[in-house]
């Protein structure tokens, strides 16, 4: 079987979508490229490549400064993206959307501005056992600085967070609950709405790492009632070096600025500086203008296909992949959450993930191997590393078949 019937019924044409991604039309080691590493970075549709090229070729100027035509064009194009993100996340206002370099910077911004001001000795920050290093280390640094305590929501052997244990961790000293909406190493979708509600009941704020959720599902920050939500442009088919931090207006207003410099100020004298209003207060210096414009094109592209269709197609593809891999003797899936997105992380008895990765690469198949910047997750499952095939809507069932066949060949080499 190499087509997914329900997707065809839903009117999702994967071949048409694939034609939009120039990078997919190549051979690697003489074999057609099969790109199964979208959780590391997603490929870019031609519309994104073209928007960035056009900016550099036609509209290139600094933003928010010049009165000349090019500066106005580039400012308009860059700021237009903020409006597209507002729709993408369903935020109340464009002003609560801060351009950052990516999810990592979004988390660091909150930890170092909100955190420094509001976390004190004896306070507690809760993260989860699923986190990427980027949602562990900034909080660890903050806790060390403030003599605060970092606590961890445990998971079960499927890779699902245990909410009963989380409930026990919450107390009046809890200041922040920071967690991934989707785990990058396992694909687990966390019950974000519930986690946030429980945090709020305990008087704590929440930050959601949306890096792996935004490419695969509709996110509504108002429905979630998230206090902060952050994601990376390059995981949603946009360029690297650009991302978004959403924060509730009253929280952002009360936070000190992140970096000082141009654009984040209203008036500067040697005696005193008056900071700019939101969102510019957090955006010092010339930003990644081309990246912002590219992100806008990426969000347009996703919107035109529709995240509902994307989610439905990927759901079928993941199920197909899960069944195909489960049939391989000696293969163990790591992460089998009942609610899961786009990730097939696995180990094969007696074969190291790095050897699997290299031998698949020889067959044109790109997967990620290693600890996926989530060493505590690997420790929990007692594996040094896994092989991870991560899916996007441009992947096909035929590619899953090729992965399964490729893994059989890997097993033959090591038999």
């Amino acid at each position: 079987m190499s087509t997914l019937t329900s997707a065809v019924q839903a009117g999702f044409d994967v071949e048409k979508v694939r034609a939009d991604f120039p990078v997919l039309k190549q051979k690697v080691h003489g074999k057609p490229l099969i790109y199964l590493d979208s959780a590391a970075t997603a490929q870019k549709p031609f519309a994104v490549v073209e928007a960035i090229r056009r900016f550099h070729e036609v509209d290139c100027a600094n933003i928010h400064r010049g009165v000349h035509e090019l500066s106005q064009r580039s400012t308009a194009a860059y700021e237009e993206t903020r409006g597209k993100v507002k729709k993408f996340l369903n935020s109340r206002s464009k002003n609560e959307l801060i351009f950052v370099r990516g999810t990592t910077e979004g988390i660091n911004l909150v930890a170092s501005t909100w955190g420094r001001k509001n976390v004190h000795e004896g306070d507690e920050i809760i993260i989860s056992a699923l986190e990427h290093h980027s949602n562990i280390v900034p909080w660890q640094m903050l806790c060390e600085e403030k003599n605060a305590r970092l606590r961890v929501i445990p998971m079960n052997d499927r890779g699902e967070l245990i909410l009963e244990e989380y409930e026990k961790l919450l107390n009046p000293r809890t200041r922040m609950v920071a967690f991934a909406h989707v785990s990058n190493a396992l694909g687990t979708i966390t019950p974000a709405r519930q986690i946030i509600e429980m945090a709020h009941r305990a008087g704590a704020l929440t930050l959601v790492d949306g890096a792996q959720a935004t490419p695969h599902m509709k996110v509504d920050v108002q429905a979630l009632d998230a206090d902060f939500y952050t994601f990376s442009g390059h995981k949603v088919f946009g360029p690297t070096g650009i991302g978004i931090l959403y924060g509730k207006t009253k929280l952002l207003n009360a936070m000190p600025p992140y970096q000082g410099g141009g654009d984040m100020i209203k008036v500067v004298t040697f005696e005193k500086t008056t900071y700019n209003d939101l969102p510019y207060k957090f955006e010092a210096g010339t930003p990644n203008i081309a990246g912002g414009i590219g992100l806008g094109a990426a969000l347009d592209y996703i919107h035109a296909i529709g995240l509902d269709k994307i989610a439905a197609y990927e759901h079928d593809l993941l199920q197909y992949g899960t069944e195909a891999l489960t049939r391989i003797p000696g293969l163990r899936l790591i992460g089998t959450a009942r609610d899961k997105a786009a990730v097939l992380s696995f180990v094969i008895e007696g074969i190291h993930p790095h050897d699997i990765g290299t031998l698949l690469d020889r067959q044109g198949i790109a997967v990620r191997t290693g600890h996926h910047c989530a060493q505590p997750v690997m420790d929990w499952f007692q594996v040094p590393a896994t092989t991870r095939a991560s899916l996007a809507f441009y992947n096909t069932a035929a590619e899953i078949d090729a992965l399964a066949a490729g893994l059989q060949k890997v097993k033959e080499v090591f038999s």
Binding site: H352, P353, H354, T358, T369, P384, E412, V413
Partner: protein
């Protein structure tokens, strides 16, 4: 699909690594770690004067790193400190440059394919980095490929 990287000797040594055991009477014991992939290795050396009398290792790693440790410990036995360090340099050239001459490397030549896989060089050299540390300061410590 045995190719230029996974030559038969490498596969053989990864399936049944030689000298893969702890050593009670080692004169030096050093840990090697590759933070990129989590590979860990502990190298044991027994020196008699300036000569490596025995070498062994334990650890978990990929086929390349296991075979490299296995073949390295074989090659070390009977080598003087300076011979061993010279061999290390030759091995490093073999896996990182296109021009390295293969002579004097013996079976280690099977690792020549690694040069075409920059991401795997650290797998091949983990044991050797650890060896260098063991030969140069004979203390217990952890060395890293980073």
């Amino acid at each position: 699909m045995v190719d230029d990287l996974y030559q038969e000797i490498i596969l053989d040594h990864s399936r049944s690594p030689r000298n893969c055991h702890p050593m009670e009477d080692a004169t030096s014991k050093v840990e090697g770690y590759n933070p990129l992939c989590g590979d860990k290795l502990r190298l044991y050396l027994k020196m008699r004067g300036d000569v490596v009398e025995d070498a062994s290792f334990v650890g978990s790693g990929c086929a390349i790193s296991t075979a490299s440790a296995s073949l390295m410990t074989e090659a070390m036995k009977g080598k003087s400190r300076s011979e061993a360090l010279k061999l290390m340099e030759r091995f490093h050239e073999l896996v990182t440059t296109d021009t390295a001459a293969a002579h004097d490397l013996g079976k280690l030549v099977v690792f020549c394919g690694v040069r075409d896989y920059p991401a795997r060089v650290k797998c091949a050299t983990l044991a050797w980095h650890t060896l260098k540390s063991a030969l140069t300061n004979e203390t217990e410590e952890t060395v890293s490929t980073e």
